[in-house]
Each structure stands twice: as C-alpha cells, then as structure tokens.
C-alpha cells in the first residue's frame, strides 16, 4: 500500500477511535436527556472523574483491567448519588433548575479533582500487550486504539441488546417517550431514572478510562470532550441514540482529518458542522423534539 493511502487509513483509525469514545460519552448524555429531560452539564466531569479513579486504582494495584472495571462503576455510583440526593430534590423546580444544579455539580467535581490529585498530568500506562503496533495488510495500527474501537463496539452491542431485547429496556424506552404514563402503569419511574443516570455516567466512565492512556489524566480533560459530546448530542438530535452514534463517528473523523488537512481551522470545524446542520434542521439530524 502506498504511503498516502496508509496515511488516510491511519487517520481514519484515529478518528474512528475518538469517535467511538465520543459516542460512549454522548450516548449517556443523550439517554439521560431523552428520559429525564435533564441536560447533564456535569457529564464530562464524570468522564474525567473516572479517569482519575482509574489512575488511583493503577497507583494502588498497577492493574489496568481492574481500573477499567472498577473506575467506571465508581463514577456511576457517584452519578447515582447525585441523582438520588440532588437532582431528584430539585425536580419540582423545573428543567432550568436541574440544568443549573448540574453546573454546580460540574464545578465541584472539576475543582475537587484538583484538590485530591493536583493539577499536573498523570500517566496511566496501557497494558503491555496493547502497547505495540499491529501489522495488517502492510499497515501498522496502534493496538490500543483498535482495542478501544473493539471495546466500544462490544459495549454498544450489549447496550443495544439491553435496550431492545429486554423488559427493562422496554420500560426505559417507554419512559423516554412518556414518563408520566409509565409511572401511572405502576412502574417505579424514579428508580428507573436513577438506574439510567447511573448507567449513563458509567458509560462516560468507561470512555474516561479508555482515553486516559492516550491523553494522560489532567484537570482540563473534560473541557474538550464535554464540548464535543454536547455538539454530538445537539447535532444528532436530543435523545436520539442513533443520531448520537452517526454524528459521533462523523465528528471523530472530522477531527482527525481536519487536523491533517486544514490544521488552522481544525478547532472550529465541529462548530461549523453544527451551525450548518442546525441551520437546516433546528432539531438536529434525528431529533423529534426540543
């Protein structure tokens, strides 16, 4: 394969890996929004929190796999606590109150990690056997990124099964379209809300651990990812999982090819993409409501 094609493919893999991680974050965001009507500003903060948890687990045990297992669950647990003890109490004051509450949660998490872990970049080492290049068809792929893509696909598969093939998934989907009606049918909707919020933050947590060895762990980690995830959710349409997936992949590729070809414009490329889409479809590509 000639070098130009190799470059295209390599950038494609990078973009795909970022897009996949982006989807993990955005999927939680969009499910929570679709179901509870809450736009969780703190979502990216949970993403970062999980990366820090993973670092801490690595410090204690040195085992990346344990970090991948434990850190997202811990982040999800924090998410559950936030939903149960904070968000639920302000539900009565309407969506704007909830939105601003999540701003408060974000500020607290962002600053708390600085108190506990300082402001320097912390390194999370990837497992030995993923720290190499995989040769395939005359090309070299970084194994870790392939692993990230694979991991995300597996989780995506599990989520799809859970959401579309189980009774629980049915309840969640029903609650997305009409929470009051589901509540009237005798299902404990607040409990489902708590569960969904936990799963959403858990997904963001997995993304945080997955990205930690690539970008290192630092307090600004959430800024870029949070913004990109919001763009994905807005462009894909609030509450649409399909939209989030497609747009996340597009955004990932846009980022990596953007840096390659129009490096000057790369930081604003996503915003231009968003402005163009919203100009034609104010509700996003697959959005059905505001």
């Amino acid at each position: 394969m000639d070098p130009t094609t190799a470059m295209y493919v390599e950038q494609g893999i990078h973009g795909l890996a970022y897009g996949m991680v982006l989807f993990l974050v955005a999927s939680g965001l969009t499910i929570i929004f679709g179901m509870m009507g809450i736009l969780n500003i703190a979502h990216a903060a949970f993403f970062m929190l999980s990366a820090y948890f993973c670092y801490q687990v690595m410090v204690w045990t040195g085992n990346f796999w344990l970090g991948l297992l434990v850190a997202p669950i811990a982040a999800g647990f924090v998410g559950v606590l936030v939903e149960r003890f904070l968000l639920r109490k302000v539900h009565a004051y309407g969506h704007i109150g909830e939105l601003i509450l999540t701003v408060g949660v974000m500020l607290v998490i962002m600053e708390a990690v600085k108190v506990f872990w300082g402001t320097e970049s912390l390194f999370v080492t990837r497992p030995q056997f993923l720290d190499k290049l995989v040769k395939m068809g005359g090309l070299e792929y970084p194994a870790y990124r392939l692993f990230v893509i694979g991991l995300t696909l597996v989780i995506l598969g599990i989520m799809a099964l859970l959401l579309y093939k189980t009774r629980l998934g049915m309840v969640v989907r029903a609650a997305v379209s009409d929470a009051d009606m589901v509540n009237a049918l005798g299902i404990n909707v607040p409990l489902v809300f708590m569960f969904v919020f936990g799963v959403g933050t858990w997904l963001a947590g997995i993304a945080g651990v997955a990205i930690a060895p690539i970008l290192t762990v630092f307090p600004g980690l959430a800024d870029q990812m949070g913004l990109d995830a919001f763009i994905v959710v807005v462009v894909g349409g609030f509450g649409s999982l399909k939209g989030a997936f497609i747009v996340a992949i597009i955004c990932g590729l846009l980022c990596s090819y953007g840096v390659q070809f129009v490096s000057q414009l790369a930081p604003v490329l996503m915003f231009i993409f968003m402005a163009v889409v919203l100009g034609f479809k104010p509700l996003g590509l697959f959005g059905e409501r505001e």
Partner: protein, 332 residues
C-alpha cells in the same frame, strides 16, 4: 407602604455611600467595588434573559468579551480615541454580535438555546485564541492607553487615576442598570415576562415572539458589552481566559441564582454576596470555584428564590402577620 420621601432619602443615602465609599474604605476595596458593580450589570443583563424571558444562556461571556475586546482594540489602534467613543464601540460590537447570532437562537428555547450558546461561546473563545495577530492569543490585549474623560471646552478628567475611574465606572454602570430597569417597566417589558410564562399565548395575542426575543436578546447582549468594556478599561487588559472562558459564562448564572432569579435587583445582591465570598475564600484556598459550586447546589436545593426570595420569606414571616392583623382590624 414606602412613601415618596423615604424613597428619596434612601436614594440620597445610596448616592452618598457611593460617593464617599472610596474615602471610607481605601483604594483596595474601591477596586473590589468596581468589579462588583461590573458583575452586577453583567448578571442583570443575564437575568433579563433567564429571569424575565426564561432563556438560559451558557455563552453570555461572548458579549462580555466582545465589548471588552472591541474597546481594547479601539483604544489600541485608533489614535486619540475618546473614552466615551471606546465605550460606545464596545456596546455596538456586542449589539452587532447579538444581531448576527439572534436569527439562529431565537427560534429555539430551553436546553437547545443553552447548548447553542455553549457552542457559540466556545467558538468565540477558540477564535480569540487562534487569531493571534488581532487578539493577542493567550496574552490578550493589554497596556492600551486610557484616554481622559473629555468634553471639549467643559471638562477633562484624567482617567488613569483609579479614584476618578471609580466615579466614571459608577456613573456608566449605574446609568446602564437604570436604563435596564426602566426597560423592564415599559409595556414591552411586560411582554417579555409573558413570553417566559406562556409564549404560545403571546403569539395568539398578536405579538411576534421571535422578534420580541430578538429585541431583548440584543439589549441584553449590548449591555453585557458595556460591562465588558468597563472591565477591560478597569483592568487595562482583556484576555480570552479572563473574559471569554466558559467559567465567565457560568458566573452570571451563579450570581443570578444566588441573588434571586426573576427579581431585578437580585443579581446585585448576588454580585455582592459573591464579591464577599470571593474576598473571604481566596484568603484560605485557591479553589474558589469549589466553594461556589457548593453554594450553587445549596441555593438551588434549599433556597430556589435566592437571596431576594429569602428576604421575602423573612419579611412575610416576621412582618407579614402584623400587617395582616392590621388589615383585618381596619376591615372590622
């Protein structure tokens, strides 16, 4: 209730406090007061959107920044640019920015409005960092000359003196706040509140909702620009991190929520409370945002009306019954 004389006395007392404040508290607290006043105006313009019209913006900093950058650029590049012209340029820059953005944002509301602002605000932040030769990148624009306040033939006051700048800033900010207050008392201000409460009904009554929102939006943006402009002149510096950063979009939210959303004077209380908290916490910890986040959560959970709501509650509890009794006695 309050008769006219007491009202005038209150105004006079407030004016006297403003005039004698610098000589009472010294120059350090005078500077703190200017920052407080800047953020009070900034938060009031934000509250015009959130409290009055029900539009939550996560990117209000872009108007603050636009005003600041425009003023800084005018003072740097235009030789002998008068003070008031620089201020006007800051105001107009924000108005123009608002006019560019409002066709897109007035069609949506709620979360979509907030998110669009988050994105636009961040776009401005990135642009300010990228266009290094205009905005100075991370360093921002600083060290521009502050011209004297000059009315030809009448008066010329040197603005480099912080004390004189204090009076100038107070005059501008006070006037802006008064204009906005007047604005909310006009019939148009009533439509503003109706848009928040029931946009469909306003539409049925024959008022144009998107256009109404656009006018309020432009007003709000323009006066946020005035706040930014004064801020830039006061600091003699405007940076992307100081003015356009997302935290600067969150600070009017915090101030408005703590002060009392929907009440016109709430943000002023909020700005004062935050000024005091900031003064106190910076002595003990660098993590001021942590304290503010905790305060925000507590306020939303327990005092959704903010400080003015709390005041109203106390008034009701301690003074309400007596007035009720008095009213009943009068009735019988």
């Amino acid at each position: 209730m309050m008769n006219k004389t007491t009202k005038w006395i209150l105004w006079a007392v407030m004016l006297a406090i403003l005039v004698f404040y610098p000589s009472l508290f010294g120059i350090y607290y005078t500077n703190v007061f200017v920052i407080f006043a800047v953020f009070a105006l900034y938060a009031i313009t934000f509250n015009l959107l959130l409290g009055y019209t029900g539009l939550l913006s996560f990117g209000h900093a872009m108007y603050f920044g636009a005003g600041g950058y425009a003023t800084a650029l005018a003072l740097t590049h235009i030789e002998g640019c008068p003070l008031l012209v620089a201020l006007l340029i800051g105001f107009l820059a924000s108005v123009v920015l608002a006019l560019i953005i409002c066709p897109i944002v007035v069609r949506v509301s709620g979360a979509a409005f907030a998110m669009l602002h988050l994105a636009f605000g961040q776009l401005m932040y990135v642009l300010a960092l990228k266009f290094r030769n205009i905005t100075g990148g991370e360093d921002g624009i600083g060290g521009f000359p502050i011209p004297p306040f000059d009315i030809p033939g009448v008066v010329s006051i040197d603005m480099a003196d912080p004390l004189k700048f204090y009076y100038f800033a107070m005059a501008v900010l006070g006037m802006s706040i008064w204009i906005l207050w007047f604005f909310t008392k006009t019939p148009f201000g009533q439509i503003m509140v109706s848009v928040r409460d029931n946009a469909n009904r306003v539409d049925y009554m024959g008022f144009k909702v998107p256009q109404t929102k656009a006018v309020i939006y432009t007003f709000s943006g323009g006066f946020a620009g005035v706040a930014g402009s004064i801020y830039a002149m006061f600091q003699n510096l405007i940076t992307a991190d100081g003015a356009l950063h997302i935290l600067n979009s969150f600070s009017p939210i915090l101030i408005t929520m703590v002060g009392g959303v929907g009440s016109f004077f709430g943000p002023i209380w909020g700005s004062a409370i935050f000024g005091i908290i900031d003064e106190l916490t910076t002595r003990y910890t660098e993590r001021v945002e942590l304290v503010m986040g905790v305060i925000l959560i507590i306020v939303i959970m327990f005092f959704p009306g903010g400080f003015t709501g709390l005041l109203g509650f106390i008034k009701e509890k301690w003074f309400g019954k007596e007035s009720d009794k008095a009213a009943m006695e009068e009735a019988s």
